[in-house]
């Protein structure tokens, strides 16, 4: 039985590997993967270095305190953060189960495979690179090798259990969103209580994790948690392996306000309605649009001006302004046309003029920028200059950057599956996506700087002027973009069809 099961696992792994490397994206996005690989290797190397040097850091940061206890005091925070990050970023153990359900493979084997495979995660490497050096360099000589091994075993078990817990919660989020919201709220409350020193998590953390040094029996706790979280995942997944649940149909919302828009503005209105529905009804565009909300608190971290690496440098604030007012545009706009790759044939052979198509996309980007600007107006609390900078940034985003993004969108050559989640989803990501962020933020700063040497207000004025000039000549840009799309449509449509 075990031999057969192992061979099943190997076969499935092999299928998934083939699926990955036979996908048309594989070769095209190889460069992205290599860069990502280097990035991960770099991160792990840093973690390893941190694990080796952590005793020196702790000694100099907290002189006179016991290094091992101090290290342990951070562990509860580590696992809390780990859980949150895993919840946000870790992929769910999904398998294209439909292809296998009709074959003589026990359902339970498929589920076990999916869960076990989910342990091959970057997050499970973090404890290895961070804790193992600490255990062997500090714990083992100071206490005993046995203590180091016990402590490591406990932490490894907890890390794995954390991974399973995150998957479980993530899966429950779609089933019972309320319970997960409550759990998240509880986590925030505990964090706040600790921050205001109502409770002492670090003390608790020290006393909890220091016990693992000496008591082998206590290992039962992490092991129990591991088994429990595994079983919970297993039960949940097993219940959800029926084909009708894998592809659960969703119902159309009854009334939509968007219809009025279409009636009022003709073809452009119809296209905007379509775009808004695309945004609300599909997982990936929706989460990308939501992600732009996370750009908006960026001001909180930079304004207020008590130092920071850039302090109150106005040039930096211009960058922040561009970044925040363009939050939606930069996020959603990176796949501006690719979003519609599944039905691009429909778009180009329907009686939609390409000018209207470009206009609708432009209206969406401009509307997104305006909305982001409105949301960030409360930052006026930090000074009127912030509002002025952001208004100039808005003008520049609408007048220059939006056209730039539309131009870049005509380079898209990759089909996107809009029903997939967006976290760590590299589908459709190409060099254009990376190149895009540089000029959109750097150029406005470069425009601002020379003028600002005379007077910061001049720099802001220059930025606004560039935006206004772009806006006033929009007819020209839209004409050029229309022509560009007309030329590029065959190449784009062919690429979108291949998938």
């Amino acid at each position: 039985m075990t031999a057969r099961r192992r061979s099943l696992g190997a076969t499935l792994l092999c299928h998934q590997w083939r699926q990955a490397c036979r996908s048309p994206y594989w070769h095209r996005s190889l460069a992205v993967k290599i860069v990502l690989g280097f990035f991960i290797a770099f991160l792990l190397l840093n973690l390893f270095g941190l694990g080796l040097a952590v005793d020196h850091i702790l000694v100099s940061a907290f002189p006179g305190e016991d290094v091992l206890s101090k290290f342990n005091s951070f562990l509860l925070y580590f696992f809390g953060l780990d859980l949150v990050l895993r919840f946000l970023l870790q992929k769910l153990p999904i398998l294209p189960i439909q292809h296998y359900l009709h074959l003589p493979i026990p359902r339970s084997d498929l589920v076990h495979y999916a869960i076990v495979k989910s342990t091959l995660s970057f997050f499970n490497l973090i404890p290895v690179f961070l804790f193992y050096p600490h255990a062997f360099k500090q714990i083992s000589p100071e206490l005993s090798p046995l203590s180091a091994v016990l402590w490591l075993a406990a932490l490894t078990g907890l890390a794995l259990a954390n991974g399973f817990l995150a998957s479980y919660l993530k899966r429950q989020l779609s089933a019972t969103p309320a319970s997960v919201t409550i759990a998240a709220a509880a986590l925030v409350v505990v964090g706040l209580l600790d921050y205001y020193e109502v409770i002492g998590l670090s003390g608790l953390s020290t006393s909890l994790f220091s016990r693992f040094f000496h008591s082998p029996i206590l290992l039962a706790v992490p092991l129990g948690l591991l088994v429990l979280s595994y079983r919970a995942n297993y039960a949940l997944l097993l219940r959800h392996t029926y084909v009708d649940q894998v592809t659960a149909a969703s119902r159309v919302p009854a009334a939509t306000r968007a219809d009025a828009l279409a009636a009022r503005f003709g073809t452009v209105g119809a296209l905007l309605t379509l775009e808004l529905r695309l945004l609300w009804r599909n997982k990936r565009p929706k989460s990308v649009a939501f992600m732009s909300l996370f750009f908006l608190p960026y001001g909180l971290m930079t304004y207020g001006g008590d130092g920071g690496p850039f302090g109150d440098s106005m040039g930096f604030l211009v960058g922040v302004g561009i970044f925040m007012t363009g939050a939606f545009m930069f996020n959603y706009g990176q796949f501006l046309i690719s979003w519609e790759s599944a039905y691009f044939d429909r778009i180009i052979c329907a009686n939609i003029s390409f000018r209207d198509y470009i206009l609708a996309k432009y209206a969406l980007l401009a509307g997104g920028c305006a909305a982001c600007f409105l949301i960030t107006t409360p930052y006026v609390y930090f000074g009127v200059h912030i509002l002025l900078i952001n208004a100039a940034a808005l003008l520049y985003n609408v007048g220059v950057n939006s056209f730039l993004l539309l131009y870049l969108a005509t380079f898209s050559r990759r089909r996107i599956d809009i029903s997939k989640s967006s976290m760590f989803n590299w589908e459709g990501v190409g060099p254009a996506q990376f190149l895009l962020l540089l000029p959109t933020i750097l150029i406005p700063i470069l425009i601002y700087l020379p003028f600002s040497f005379a007077q910061p207000a001049w720099g802001i004025g220059a930025l606004a002027l560039f935006g206004a000039a772009g806006l006033l000549s929009s007819r020209v840009w839209i004409g050029l973009l229309t022509e560009r799309l007309r030329q590029q449509k065959y190449t784009m449509a062919a690429a979108f069809r291949i998938g």
Partner: protein, 234 residues
């Protein structure tokens, strides 16, 4: 009757393998042309070039005398359905019809009116179900696509294998619908099919495509079906 669609010296090659090579093809107003041929004969490629979805290697397609690549008037009088890439999965059928109808300046009421004669064809499985198109079965998706092509009373109708994945009842209803369109509105049709029975019943002219070339071009007669069957029996 004047020529509606005309292909001149039309060729398309992928990796130096010619997939379409049509020196000349004319479709006259009101004519219904059936396109048959085995997989890979170049039917869909030809359709895509007629609809300006791919660039021809050489030659051009004229619609009412205008090159489809430069004169876009054909988009207003041509209804087409080739495959799922014409459907927008996250819309309900109603929303999709309103979108397509809206592009032809049809109000919501006008769209509903235009769909009335299709009630029989829909067989109660399309409208008012509260489902997104992506959640419909393949056959029902096909119905939505064909209906959208018919929506704005097109003068030219282009359908790629419209009978595939439809149930027998719906196939017969579609056949009747197309025959009626031909008789009452003299719609010009270009229809491909693997079903020799249906295509000979619906179309008055049959063109056989093989390796991208037109090898037969015949007016449908009583013997056409048996001729075609003989041709495809290898």
């Amino acid at each position: 009757m004047y020529v509606v669609i005309e292909a001149k010296e039309l060729t398309k090659a992928y990796d130096e393998i010619t997939v379409v090579d049509i020196p000349h093809l004319e479709i006259r107003q009101g004519e219904s042309l059936g396109l048959v041929g085995n997989n890979g004969a170049g039917k869909t490629t030809l359709f895509r070039m007629i609809l300006d979805l791919i660039e021809p290697e050489t030659g051009e397609v004229l619609s009412k005398g205008g090159n489809v690549r430069t004169v876009e008037a054909w988009k207003w009088y041509t209804g087409a359905y080739l495959d799922e890439s014409f459907l927008i999965g996250f819309l309900s059928p109603e929303e999709y019809f309103e979108f397509v109808g809206g592009l032809h300046d049809l109000s919501r009421e006008a769209v509903a009116e235009a769909l009335e004669p299709l009630a029989n064809f829909f067989n109660g499985e399309i409208l008012g179900k509260g489902k997104f198109i992506r959640d419909l079965s393949r056959g029902n998706q096909q119905k939505v696509g064909i209906a959208a092509a018919l929506l704005a009373e097109p003068e030219v109708l282009i359908l790629d294998e419209p009978f595939s994945s439809l149930d027998p009842t719906t196939q017969i209803r579609l056949k009747n619908l197309l025959q009626e369109l031909r008789a009452t509105r003299s719609v010009t049709m270009l229809i491909s099919s693997h079903n020799l029975n249906h295509v000979t019943e619906v179309c008055e002219r049959i063109t056989v495509l093989e390796d991208g070339c037109i090898v037969r071009d015949i007016q449908t007669s009583d013997s056409t079906l048996s001729d075609l069957e003989a041709y495809f029996t290898v």
